[in-house]
Symmetry: C3
Subunit: 309 residues, 3 copies
Amino acid sequence: MNISFRHLLSADQVTQEDIQAICKKASFFHHNTSSSIFDLARGKILASLFFEPSTRTRFAFEAAMQKLGGNIITLESGASSSTKKGETLSDTGRIMSGYCDIAVIRHPQKNSATEFAKHATIPVINAGDGSNQHPSQSLLDIYTINHFHHRLDELSIGIIGDLKFSRTVKSLVQLLAFYKRHTFYLISHPSLKMNTETVAWLKKCGHQVIETKSLQDTLPLLDIAYMTRVQEERFDTKESYDAVKNHYRLERAHLTHAKPTLTILHPLPRIAEIAEDVDTHTSAKYFDQAQFGLYIRMALISEMLGLEI
Amino acid sequence: MNISFRHLLSADQVTQEDIQAICKKASFFHHNTSSSIFDLARGKILASLFFEPSTRTRFAFEAAMQKLGGNIITLESGASSSTKKGETLSDTGRIMSGYCDIAVIRHPQKNSATEFAKHATIPVINAGDGSNQHPSQSLLDIYTINHFHHRLDELSIGIIGDLKFSRTVKSLVQLLAFYKRHTFYLISHPSLKMNTETVAWLKKCGHQVIETKSLQDTLPLLDIAYMTRVQEERFDTKESYDAVKNHYRLERAHLTHAKPTLTILHPLPRIAEIAEDVDTHTSAKYFDQAQFGLYIRMALISEMLGLEI
Amino acid sequence: MNISFRHLLSADQVTQEDIQAICKKASFFHHNTSSSIFDLARGKILASLFFEPSTRTRFAFEAAMQKLGGNIITLESGASSSTKKGETLSDTGRIMSGYCDIAVIRHPQKNSATEFAKHATIPVINAGDGSNQHPSQSLLDIYTINHFHHRLDELSIGIIGDLKFSRTVKSLVQLLAFYKRHTFYLISHPSLKMNTETVAWLKKCGHQVIETKSLQDTLPLLDIAYMTRVQEERFDTKESYDAVKNHYRLERAHLTHAKPTLTILHPLPRIAEIAEDVDTHTSAKYFDQAQFGLYIRMALISEMLGLEI
């Protein structure tokens, strides 16, 4: 095992060495199409526990396990769960340890994955606990950036949309902060700004942080435009959501003055944040990014199970 | 690959040569029980996406993929889908292409499978888009007819029940029309008659078409009695459904004057259309028909993935 | 095949010889971690049909099949089933026989599994039909008792909680009754007492039966304390449930005078019946019990499929 953690619950746990090890392994799966990898996880079972719906993340983990030759057991919808009968997540985690070899959990409650892992004797991956953490997403973001820019230092990174609730943004900046001399352009509606502690911490890490409201003025400066969806489920009222949901929308016309090496990323699903006419632009890399999620999950699973290639 | 289509979205796409190639491959899987077929689709993943419930069709596709040695990822219920977050089906199709090798989709909306396939880079099978198309069902119907009658020409085919909304009927007559000199007995309540364009087209193709209301008078003339379920979900009001739902019901006593070679088919599930006492009659072939669906799906998947036997 | 039944629908069918054969096979899977078992069920498919939610039981069966090298097809939630369209369970069972090699069914209705198996040509396992039967649970209970006590005779067995509705208790006492000279301590609220026929029958089988209300007084006498959850879904009103739900709660302090060889069992999920501070006590064996369920299901599936080790 080349990684420092047993469970992957938060981006906080991930070291720079972990990122290197996981991206190296992901790159191997990305470029190796020999059928020998189909036997790596033979006889192993992944419990894929989604107490909150997410087809994309669930499918990425389940495809990854199966591409490694392993099997999956799925909870598609929390509605049909023992926890509905009142079982604690910690009990569920312990019981799953008797049936499976590794577990992935998404749950609407903050720290749910940590609770699940409390007595688990198998590795646990947090695939989203409310607005808190979603560390495998950040690892695939990092992998994608490195793939297209061939470096993880000195980048001009625009983060656009929901910088307040988005767990994706939270985890991503934590990992990017390891590297040197970034310029972060934080582009959001005033009600969705990044919290001041994180901004201060990024500066303390030696990065430049520029907060702005204008996407179009900033776009020509960026190496990376990381778009996010404003998630209705994080708002208290429909009114407060409606007020900001379509505040930023990237259209092809905006890209006229962008750098030729700009990469546009998005954790997906996208709704109106990126117009469809952007999809065919050479800078549009969000579908590649989604696909790279498969290799990152293959890397994570094989590292956490201690599989030897 | 011996077939003319990349995606199977509609029976319109299927040529007579396609039918021949698929039925030949299905027959191979029907009669070959050697374990060597268990490795054909090794390392491949089928995305089984059911936005509308259907245990039978879903299980047939998932069993088929697994009998070929492949893996499956399942969306059992659209309720837990990214599309609930507002993602377009076209985006979903593109993202799934990054994780899986082939996709099957059922969705209540007309043309949903076509939309899903729009940017998909993997083969897509339409397993039912509302009342529109369900082409793999028709292929298994054709296979079943050929299996029991040893020909696909000059048959007396009764189609009974819902000739208006049933996608099964729509696709079936399209495929049967390729062959020669059939007599179609269209037996339905006036409110569920086949649309006049289809009737005219069948005649133009050289077939005889007889529209009638009486199942019992017609039964002795038939080689095939294709029963259909009147589907509540296709009606606007419960009243309009109740008025016709039990209009045709096949009972064992009706079969006294039937040809000994009659085959009774039904796409299933059946409710009251066929009495249980018919099940043990030698003409009852609807459970065989359901099972043959497994072989047709194995044939389709292996052809569309380009697997070599 | 070393077992007397084709379908496992009720603990009634299970003979003492069956128990011996299944426990022997389970013990083999418990202690054999060689990878050769991963090929036993190659190419076989288990239909896992849950018309009533149960993550734990479903996962145990699905993990068992996959640990044997077989595949699974899952119905996670009855909501998405053909039976919603009005299909009989008997039709569903017949159709599944065409796709799969073995089926597990949980359904809220009494005798649903029997109805499903009526025309099924594949082996069927009842994983719970309402408050009626859940025979694989009892087999794993027996296996657990034998594992920790090295005998199945002359045990002091406390059964605590819901002795009226619990299908687990019903099936367990049926199997324990085969053996000799047990003392059953039936500990329950008066409204949840075991029915008098069963009590009379246990006595007729040569066992001692003592009905009591006090858990604490009885605890020091027990070899086994079998705790059960009072299941809200079995009560007509919330009031009648609330009146008894927390009547028995085992805490660590209660265990001071218990035998050192006491084993505390629970079919899980537990809610408040066992305090968390009991979990680390050496007598707490309910998580082992859950894990042993995997081996029992592997044994059942391999016996019922006639797999040769």
